[in-house]
Symmetry: C2
Subunit: 363 residues, 2 copies
């Protein structure tokens, strides 16, 4: 991330909490699972476990991915919300791993579904470990966070734990709806979706993980429903802005590299991904340009010239600046959701800063 | 299944309940999801859902799979246990879909992980709908059953619902451990596992879905822990026997087709799958034959002659009959777990019949 767009408080918050988050992840998913861990996590074997299979098939690949980077900002946002609400971040630290582990599970599975080759600058996990190992590891990460709830490290009462399970059930079902919408459009030749449908896809696919951050923080600290909703909406909106920011970065990076053929650029256009920009451009460009853009997105054999042409259409239609404006609107909207949440001023400032970070970051 | 090995009661039970189970599945996963369903299941859209994406990406592929067959025996076993314990199967019918939906989710994902081409005599889902659609549909089926619990159709109290969530958390984490062990060995060249490890893999991968059947039936009808454990052990043991029965069938079908080259046969040996029979044969065959068997299993280019050689080694080492004996032992063991469960005599007879069905079926 660009140092200059981050206030000191925000940088400090991320730097302060990241190692603690990784330690908390290691408590539920150790780098080297030993027999004691296996017996505690899975119960006594009926016959005999193969701990090597667990280490090589789950713990090694996941830590390979985690050690490549990631700011753990979902976990840090969770902890900052807890702290801002007057809760004890240490007490709830294990719960910070819930959205973070889920997030890493989804990216492993997404990479298989998208046929991605790279993740965080290295081979995607299914290329390095095989599709079978990567998929099972990704799917295992969907259920490990539930174990955090059943281990009950903060000694929550039954009603609170039930609320956590029901919340996760609701949000994780919506996550798969969002991913399903994304896949569905990706497999269609034309751009047959509305802006509202695109936004809903982001709200479900990316937003639900954010909603989990906000709602989990509210549930474990016993906030009233209005505060839980406000925090869910704050995080959801932040995540939609983040997703649009991601799509903008893909085009911006392509602009930086224009002319530098031979390097990978314009990944989203190569992949035929539908984004707010392509939806806007197809709706607003001249009929001829709109149809050319759809053809390029549908092509299985996209040349660099075609990518440049697509980017030109997007720029000439004002779709890049339109997307930037929408992301900024969403960031402002996210901040509005915080107004009635009883946060400390420091936490409020940090959480507002998050909304700037997600749209102004350059990585 | 072979009619002659099934008592009338068992056939009647399966035939009686199957349509009701499919109707119950359709209530949580309708064939044609309409707007009312979407709003109830996912809540109001923030922007706008794409119901087509849901239908084509999830409901159509899943019903394609369900309509190919399957006896829904996990659901029927659940209902028979409920009835045998004096509960009302109608009241708990929605919960019968939990193991059934989970089972179908795992086979969609397994087929991707195993690179399978066929499922129930037709194209595997990832071949028909694409890997992205199939995977997301399979994964969605992991979370839809949790929705049954949160919809709470039988008006269970909070404590009972919490127990259901915790049980599912525990068993679904173990499922992924089992699948991880299976994948790990599959990717190794030699046969480096013990019989106890193989049995544990079955207990986790296949057995956990069975345990869910037994434990869910016990939890929703408020059985004491000893009865819940007995039903879990009954179902787990039954499922291990089922898995070994599956592996035996693969070899037996190959024997039927020996000489009939050109037809697919010996799938497990082609795939290099580690089974109780190959583990037993490698441990007990002459060094030369054992090493030949390992070479055949590790080969990426297995000829029909190699498959026949592998089957010869398995037969000559007595591994096929050894596996049959173990499956029968397990079936007997499963029946023993029922002894202290307060079931009606009819249900007891049906559930004992299930243990024969899983090892003596020919499909």
């Amino acid at each position: 991330m660009r140092g200059d767009i981050l206030s000191w408080g925000m940088r400090e918050t991320l730097a302060e909490w990241r190692p603690a988050v990784d330690e908390a992840i290691a408590r539920v998913l150790p780098r080297d699972p030993d027999e004691a861990y296996v017996a505690e996590f899975f119960g006594d074997a009926r016959y005999e476990y193969d701990a090597d299979a667990l280490a090589e098939g789950l713990h090694d690949p996941v830590w390979d991915l985690l050690d490549r980077g990631g700011k753990r900002w979902r976990a840090v946002a969770f902890l900052r919300i807890i702290e801002g609400l007057g809760g004890d971040p240490e007490r709830f630290l294990p719960y910070a791993t819930v959205p973070e582990i889920l997030h890493n599970g989804t990216i492993i599975v997404d990479d298989v579904e998208d046929g991605a080759t790279l993740r965080r600058g290295e081979e995607a996990l299914h290329h390095r470990y095989g599709e079978d190992v990567a998929l099972n590891a990704g799917n295992a990460l969907y259920f490990i966070p539930l174990k955090v709830v059943s281990r009950n490290p903060a000694e929550l009462d039954d009603e609170t734990r039930l609320a956590v399970y029901e919340m996760l059930t609701y949000e994780l079902n919506r996550t798969h709806l969002g991913q399903g919408m994304d896949i569905h459009w990706h497999n269609e030749d034309g751009v047959n979706l509305t802006e509202a449908e695109y936004m809903e896809m982001c709200a479900c696919k990316t937003g639900c993980l954010g909603r989990i951050v906000g709602r989990l923080a509210a549930i474990v600290t016993h906030q009233p429903p209005a505060i839980e909703d406000a925090l869910a909406d704050y995080m959801e909106t932040l995540c939609i802005a983040f997703q649009i920011g991601d799509d903008i970065l893909d085009i911006e990076h392509s602009l930086d590299r224009a002319g530098d053929f031979g390097k990978a650029f314009g990944n989203d256009i190569h992949e035929g991904k539908k984004t707010l920009m392509t939806v806007h451009a197809v709706e607003n460009a001249e009929a001829d340009a709109a149809s050319r853009l759809e053809t390029i997105l549908a092509s299985d054999d996209t040349t660099d010239e075609m990518v440049l042409d697509a980017i030109d259409i997007i720029q000439e239609t004002g779709s890049l600046s339109y997307a930037r404006e929408r992301a900024l609107d969403l960031a402002a909207d996210a901040r509005d959701h915080l107004v009635d949440v009883p946060l400390t001023p420091d936490a409020q400032a940090d959480l507002e800063e998050f909304t700037r970070f997600v749209v102004e970051r350059d990585v």
